[in-house]
C-alpha cells in the first residue's frame, strides 16, 4: 500500500462528455509503466485528471496514492505529496524568473525553505545532466523556450522535486533524437526504488531509451491490453489497428 499508486475504475468527463470509461492501473514504486494508445484514446485526460485539472471531472472511481484518496485534494496538495506531471505542453509564465520559480517549487515540496547554496548546487548538477545552459535560469519560465527546451525544463523540475510518482505526458513528442537521449538520460538517472513512473506516449521510440517494465494500451477511455515490453515492440510493427478492432464493441444485432 505504502508503495503504490492505484487507479480504480476511473471515469472522467470533460463538459459532460465521458472520456475515461473505467480505468484501472497500479504503479508500484521502482516500476516504469508505459501507457500507449492512439490519438484521442484518453491518455492525456488521464494525466490531467490525476493532477486534478479543473476542466476534468471525475465522475466515478478512486485514485489512491500510498493508500490515500487524492481526489479530494487540490492540485498543489497532490504535488506536495509527491505526485508529478511532466506536461505535454508546458505553459509560459512571463515575468516569473526560472530560478525563482524552481526555488519556490522546491520549498513547497520540501515544506520548508531550502538552504539557498544547497539549492543552487543541486540545481547546477541536474542542469549538467540535462545539458542546460546556465543563462537559462535568468530567463522567464518557459517564455520563448523551444519545444526541446521546454521538455528538458520539465525533466529538470522532476529531478529537483524528487517525486514518488511521476507521469510523463508525451515527453517525447516534438523532440529530435539528441534531445530525446538527453531527456531519457535524466529519467534513467531518477529511476530507482523510490519512484514509480507512468510514461504516456504515442510512439514506441522513447521506450528504446527508457525501458518499461509494463506496457498498457488504452483505447476509447479504457485499458484494453497490458503486457511486458514486447507489447510495445509488437505495436511498433503492427500499429494500433488490430487492438482497436478487438476492442470495438460487437455490432448490435439488427432487428428483423
Amino acid at each position: 500500500m505504502a508503495d503504490t499508486f492505484e487507479i480504480q475504475g476511473l471515469h472522467v468527463a470533460i463538459e459532460e462528455k465521458e472520456i475515461l470509461k473505467g480505468v484501472d492501473l497500479v504503479v508500484r514504486k521502482g516500476e516504469v509503466h508505459a501507457l500507449m494508445g492512439p490519438n484521442g484514446s484518453g491518455k492525456s485526460t488521464l494525466a490531467n485528471a490525476i493532477l486534478g485539472h479543473p476542466k476534468y471531472t471525475v465522475t466515478r472511481g478512486r485514485i489512491l496514492m500510498k493508500g490515500e484518496d487524492i481526489l479530494e485534494m487540490e492540485t498543489d496538495e497532490r504535488a506536495r505529496k509527491g505526485l508529478f506531471l511532466a506536461f505535454q505542453y508546458p505553459c509560459e509564465v512571463p515575468g516569473v524568473r526560472q530560478s525563482n520559480f524552481l526555488r519556490l517549487a522546491c520549498n513547497a515540496r520540501l515544506g520548508h525553505e531550502m538552504d539557498v547554496t544547497e539549492f543552487y548546487s543541486k540545481l547546477e548538477k541536474k542542469m549538467k545532466v540535462l545539458d542546460i545552459d546556465e543563462k537559462f535560469m535568468k530567463r522567464y519560465l518557459n517564455e520563448g523556450f523551444s519545444g526541446g527546451e521546454k521538455k528538458r525544463n520539465e525533466i529538470l523540475q522532476m529531478m529537483l522535486l524528487e517525486p514518488e510518482f511521476a507521469i510523463m505526458d508525451e515527453t517525447d513528442s516534438g523532440l529530435d533524437i539528441d534531445a530525446l537521449k538527453v531527456v531519457s538520460r535524466g529519467v534513467n538517472e531518477l529511476r530507482g526504488p523510490g519512484l514509480g513512473i507512468l510514461i504516456i506516449t504515442h510512439y514506441e521510440r522513447i521506450l528504446r531509451y527508457i525501458n518499461p517494465d509494463f506496457v498498457h494500451i488504452m483505447v476509447d477511455g479504457k485499458i484494453v491490453k497490458s503486457g511486458g515490453p514486447d507489447l510495445a515492440a509488437h505495436l511498433e510493427e503492427h500499429g494500433y489497428d488490430w487492438i482497436v478492432k478487438d476492442a470495438a464493441p460487437a455490432p448490435e444485432p439488427v432487428k428483423g
Binding site: 493532477l51 485539472h53 479543473p54 476542466k55 487540490e74 492540485t75 498543489d76 504535488a79 506536495r80 508529478f84 506531471l85 506536461f87 508546458p90 505553459c91 509564465v93 512571463p94 515575468g95 516569473v96 520559480f101 519556490l104 517549487a105 513547497a108 515540496r109 522567464y140 519560465l141 523540475q157 522535486l161
Partner: protein
C-alpha cells in the same frame, strides 16, 4: 469570513486608512470662492501677480466644463469640499520642529527617520501645507534647491515666475484651472547646471481632513546637463465622504539634462485623484515618468512629455492596479515638436474585484518633428469576469519619417498557468501572486528597491481572494 470592515473585504487591509485629530490653524468655509483665494493669499503673504493669477484661474474653472471624454467625475460636489486647511504655520526644517501630532501620523505611515537617511531630501505635506521640508547639506552645498512650492515662490521669485504655469497654464483644462486657483504646498526643485543630484528627493502627501481638496503644485527645473530623481508617495484616511486631490506638476528638463519622477499613488478609495503632469524636454534632454497607481476612487492622470528640443527622449512607465471601487484612468502623452526625438510608453494595468483600468494615450508628432520614433506597449491583465479594462490610444502623426509602433494585449490569469504552477506544489494564492507580479515585472524592475518591495506588497494585498 470573519467580521471585517467593508474596506478590508474590498482591498485587503489598507493600513493607511486611519485618521488623526489634528487641529487646523487655518480653515476656510466650504466651496470654491474668490473669498477663499483672498484668505489664502493673505495667509501666505503672496505677491499681487499670484493673487491675480489665482482669481483668473478660478474664473476659468467656473466657466469651463470637464472634457466630454472624462467620464465618472460628474458626481463630484465641488461645493462640499474644503479648499484650504492647514495645521501648520510654516514648514519646519528640523523633524523635531514638526508638531507632535503630525509627527505621530508620519511615524504610523512609516516615514521614519531611517528612511530619511536614504534620501537626499524629504518633504511631508499634510492637507494644504508642507509640515516638513528638508534637504541634506551635501546637496544644498551643490546649489540644489528643494523647498515647498510656496517657499520657492518667495525665495527664488525669478526662476519661479519664469517657469510657473508655463507648461500647464490654467487655460489647459478645468482641473488645471482648479489647481491654479487653490494651489498650496508641493515642491520647488532647482538643480543647477552640471549638478547631479545622485540621491532621490522624496515627498509624501497625506490628506487627513475630511471632504478636503489637496492641490499641491510642484515645479522642477533641471538646468543644463543636470540630473535628479524625485519620488512621491501618498495616502489618505478612509471616510465615507469623498476628497479631491488635484495636483499640477511641471518639469523643465533643459539641454542634456535628465529627470526621473517616480510616483507611488496609494490614496484611499474616497479620493478623486485628478492630476496634470507635464514635462518640457529641451535639446537632448531625457525625462522618465514612472507612474504607479494603486489606490484612489478614480484616477485621471496622463504624465506627458513635450519634446521641444531636438534629440530629446521621453519615457513613461505606467502601472495601474484597479481593485473594487476603483477606476484607474491612467496613461501617457508624448508630444513631439522637434526633430530626431524618441519616446516610449510602457503601460501595464491590472483590474480585479470589479475594478476598472483604462489606458488613455496620446502620441502626437507635429509637422516640424521630423524623424521621430515612438514605441507604445500597453498590456492589461483582467483577474475576473466582473472587472474591466479599456484602451483608448490616439495617434496624430504629421511629421515626416516618423516611426510609430503600437502593441497592446489583454490577458487573464489563465487556468493553464495556475494549473501548471500548482502542479509543482505552489499554493493557489501564491501562484496568482506569481503570475500577477510576473506581469508587472518589466515596470517594477525600474523602481528603486524599497518601492519595488512596497508595490509587490500592495499588489499582493489587492490580489487576495481575487481569482475565485
Amino acid at each position: 469570513m470573519s467580521a471585517a470592515s467593508p474596506e478590508q473585504v474590498l482591498r485587503g487591509p489598507y493600513k493607511e486608512g486611519f485618521h488623526d485629530n489634528i487641529k487646523a490653524l487655518h480653515q476656510v468655509p466650504k466651496g470654491a470662492s474668490h473669498e477663499v483665494i483672498d484668505y489664502m493669499c493673505d495667509v501666505k503673504a503672496e505677491p499681487a501677480w499670484m493673487r491675480a493669477f489665482r482669481h483668473r484661474s478660478l474664473d476659468l474653472f467656473l466657466k469651463h466644463d470637464l472634457p466630454a471624454w472624462m467620464p465618472g467625475l460628474r458626481d463630484i460636489d465641488y461645493d462640499a469640499i474644503t479648499y484650504y486647511a492647514s495645521p501648520v504655520e510654516k514648514s519646519a526644517r528640523r523633524w523635531e520642529d514638526v508638531p507632535e501630532e503630525i509627527r505621530r501620523t508620519y511615524d504610523k505611515l512609516g516615514i521614519a527617520k531611517e528612511e530619511q537617511k536614504l534620501l537626499g531630501g524629504l518633504g511631508a505635506q499634510i492637507d494644504s501645507e508642507m509640515a516638513y521640508h528638508n534637504i541634506q547639506e551635501s546637496l544644498s552645498k551643490k546649489g540644489i534647491v528643494f523647498l515647498s512650492c510656496d517657499d520657492g515662490l518667495k525665495q527664488y521669485p525669478d526662476i519661479f515666475q519664469e517657469h510657473f504655469a508655463k507648461s500647464v497654464p490654467p487655460e489647459d483644462n478645468k482641473l488645471a484651472a482648479l489647481n491654479s486657483a487653490f494651489w498650496s504646498g508641493g515642491s520647488f526643485v532647482y538643480i543647477p547646471k552640471g549638478v547631479k543630484c545622485d540621491i532621490p528627493l522624496s515627498v509624501y502627501f497625506r490628506i487627513n481632513a475630511e471632504q478636503f481638496g489637496q492641490f499641491e503644485r510642484t515645479l522642477i527645473v533641471c538646468d543644463e546637463d543636470s540630473f535628479c530623481h524625485y519620488v512621491e508617495g501618498c495616502s489618505a484616511p478612509i471616510y465615507t465622504t469623498n476628497s479631491l486631490h488635484s495636483a499640477v506638476v511641471e518639469i523643465f528638463v533643459k539641454d542634456h539634462a535628465r529627470c526621473r519622477y517616480t510616483t507611488i499613488q496609494n490614496w484611499s478609495t474616497d479620493v478623486y485623484n485628478l492630476v496634470t503632469k507635464r514635462a518640457y524636454l529641451y535639446k537632448n534632454a531625457i525625462m522618465e515618468w514612472v507612474d504607479g497607481n494603486l489606490g484612489s476612487k478614480r484616477t485621471v492622470k496622463y504624465p506627458s512629455c513635450y519634446m521641444v528640443g531636438e534629440g530629446a527622449h521621453g519615457e513613461i512607465l505606467s502601472l495601474a492596479s484597479a481593485d473594487k471601487g476603483m477606476w484607474q484612468d491612467a496613461g501617457a502623452k508624448l508630444v513631439f515638436y522637434a526633430p530626431n526625438c524618441t519616446g516610449r510608453i510602457n503601460s501595464k494595468s491590472i483590474s480585479g474585484h470589479g475594478g476598472r483600468a483604462s489606458y488613455r494615450g496620446l502620441v502626437q508628432v507635429n509637422e516640424q518633428a521630423r524623424n521621430c520614433r515612438v514605441q507604445v506597449n500597453c498590456d492589461a491583465l483582467i483577474l475576473d469576469p466582473v472587472s474591466r479594462s479599456d484602451t483608448y490610444p490616439v495617434m496624430e502623426i504629421d511629421g515626416d519619417l516618423a516611426t510609430v509602433e503600437h502593441e497592446a494585449s489583454v490577458s487573464n490569469v489563465s487556468e493553464e498557468q495556475l494549473f501548471y504552477l500548482m502542479s509543482r506544489g505552489i499554493k493557489k494564492e501564491d501562484a496568482v501572486s506569481m503570475i500577477v507580479n510576473g506581469f508587472i515585472e518589466p515596470i517594477v524592475k525600474e523602481l528603486p528597491m524599497e518601492f519595488a518591495v512596497e508595490i509587490n506588497r500592495l499588489i499582493n494585498l489587492q490580489m487576495e481572494g481575487s481569482v475565485g
